[in-house]
């Protein structure tokens, strides 16, 4: 086997042929493989600690409804992080779009509408939400590229601005009274796959396609690794950045639509802790916070790991605060391990 695979000698590997055969199915890269093993370990640990509650169909279904929202946020965070920036405004955008969608549905829809009418208004609401997300994202991109404010400050400001707009618009109150059809879609399943999971799958596929099959992905990674070099290589940095922040805004809008469906209401200051979680997932998933590198598969594994951890801890009836504690520890641990292995690799190269 080893002779066919490559011409460099691999002295220690042929000792265990079974292991060798199995490693072919693991992710090839060291950091991805480590993440995969961490995911499996967390799953096994949680399954061993509370097999009755954790390993049940109910628990898996509820997990499938829970993680899509922060998974989508993490995808948005990943795109901006690969570009060497960050997007702190995703939750602000999501809240603003969910307010938009909810007010289109709750205020414009006549009370005794037919099913067809409600469907039309739901479509309109979704379009409006996506448009708002696009505009918000483009505004972020504009401030980053044309005005030249560092991304962290732009999105710190727009986070307040978008959330502030939503608060001004609603006067701080929640919008309730959505059409049943919409919440039914958001909480329903196609066959046995919950709709939010389906949406997350679509977003994941789209991100994968953009990053790996389109020239945009390559340009984005070049820009993140070294903006000067990418400019000299003929990449239109401004355009790539505008597109990145616009995509981030649209993904946030999709997350906002899922949140509205799940909570059956829209609030201006919902879920600010998602920002931390999105950064956590992105960094754990191997996205380089300095820019230039990130993989969709890493995000998916990181999201699943954290969901297993969270659901497993839920099954143990520990509080939400303990989860915060664990998440902080996991984030730091993953970063330290990655750093260590990078240093070892660097030393070996020297």
């Amino acid at each position: 086997m080893t002779k066919i695979e490559g011409n460099h000698p691999q002295p220690s590997m042929p000792k265990r042929p079974l292991m060798l055969a199995l490693t072919r199915y693991l992710p090839q890269e060291a950091s991805a493989r480590r993440l995969f093993l961490i995911m499996v370990a967390v799953f096994a640990l949680m399954a061993a600690v509370s097999p009755g509650t954790f390993l049940s169909l109910d628990s898996f279904t509820s997990m499938a409804f829970q993680f899509p929202v922060f998974g989508i946020f993490a995808l948005a965070m990943m795109l901006t992080m690969i570009s060497g920036g960050i997007d702190l405004s995703i939750v602000g955008i999501a809240n603003l779009t969910s307010i938009t969608a909810a007010s289109v549905m709750a205020r414009l829809l006549p009370a005794e509408a037919t099913a067809g009418e409600s469907a039309a208004f739901i479509g309109l609401a979704m379009l409006a939400a996506l448009a708002v997300g696009l505009v918000c994202g483009l505004f972020n991109g504009f401030a980053v590229t044309k005005i030249g404010i560092p991304p962290i400050l732009v999105t710190l400001g727009t986070m307040q601005l978008y959330m502030g707009t939503a608060i001004v618009f609603t006067k701080g109150q929640a919008i309730v009274g959505l059409p049943e059809l919409y919440t039914a879609i958001g909480n329903g399943s196609v066959w046995i796959i919950p709709v939010p999971l389906l949406i997350f799958g679509l977003c994941t596929w789209a991100a994968y396609f953009l990053l790996n099959k389109q020239s945009y992905g390559l340009k984005l990674q070049m820009l993140g690794a070294n903006p000067t070099a990418s400019a000299y290589a003929g990449v239109n940095n401004t355009r790539v950045l505008l597109r990145t922040y616009a995509l981030s805004g649209m993904l946030a809008a999709i997350a906002g639509l899922v949140i509205v469906a799940q909570t059956n209401s829209a609030k201006a200051d919902y879920g600010t802790s998602y920002i931390l979680q999105a950064i956590l997932v992105a960094v754990m998933g191997g996205v380089d916070p300095k820019g230039g590198f990130g993989k969709v598969s890493g995000i998916v594994m990181a999201v699943l790991t954290l969901q297993f951890l969270s659901s497993g801890l839920n099954a143990l009836h520990v509080g939400n605060f303990f989860k915060d504690f664990m998440w902080g520890i996991v984030l730091l641990a993953v970063m330290v391990i990655n750093e260590w292995s990078n240093r070892r690799k660097a030393r070996r190269l020297v």
């Binding site: 605060f321 504690f325 902080g328 970063m335």
Partner: protein
Amino acid sequence: MKKVVQTSEFYVAVVVLALFLVIGSQNEAFFTTANLFDLIRSGVVPGIFVMCAMLVIISGGIDVSFPAIATFSMFSATKILHSIQYDGPVIAAFLLSGLIGLCLGIINAVFISLFRLPTLIVTLGTSSMFSGFLLTFVGSSQISDLPRSLLAFSKEQIFKFTNESGITVGLPAAVLITLGVIVSVAMLLRYTMIGRGIYALGGDAVSAERIGFSPVRLQFFIYSLVGLLAGIAGMIHTTMMRNSNPVDLLGTELLIIAAVVLGGTRITGGHGTVLGSLLGLILVVTIQNSLILLGIPSYWQRFVIGALILIGTGVAAYQVKRSIMRRKSIIT
């Protein structure tokens, strides 16, 4: 004169002055001593936080964990004092809280300087860790019966006098602590080698190392100091509120960073002054406290602060961009 006009402190001062005049002309209540004392009072704890955030940003990092550290130290310190029925001088409470903060700051420093991890992400992680630990293992319900000396300190006031309507106004004695912190940070940045090192590190870490500063030691110093200051600020918050609530301060970090940045401190490091940051804080505190005096409902707060951050940083960034473009046009 021209030099003064060009500084960002000057712009912020003009904006603050304009805001004061506008609010004052709309509502007489603004320029009363009671209201001004109120503004100062609401700036006591943020005043120390602003120093923390500024030190870190000048050194080229960004810290979002100081509210978590402050909360952790004040609550566990009060809990300890409460459980041993402490009855001694108030200084011990501040020392204990500061010491706990110092230890948490060292945790930040270890991750940041020894492992060289990005500061924003480390402090996000430790912030989540600290507050999670506090609320799970130390306690989550507020402590209202503080030790007697703390209560006595909280009632101590300076500049106390009674105005014409018979209400006694004064500043809490804790103002002096904040003033002391501000003066010492200013001295540190201005007159000491460590202060120069902090600016050098933020300007260019590699150059700083080559001219003989140790980034590891400097970062250790900065994050430990920030922990210490945050711990003291937390205890001040407890004395001012007269109870210790483990969720009070969380979530204020972004507003404090906004104040620092509005005051002309560059997020990329190497630039920033104590005066500018204080002006930025005055701007934010005035907006938070006084929009209502202008007849603007308080739900506009976030919107106005967001817009201010964008305009403030946008003007600065645009000027930098233009000057770079001008320099380029000379070369070509």
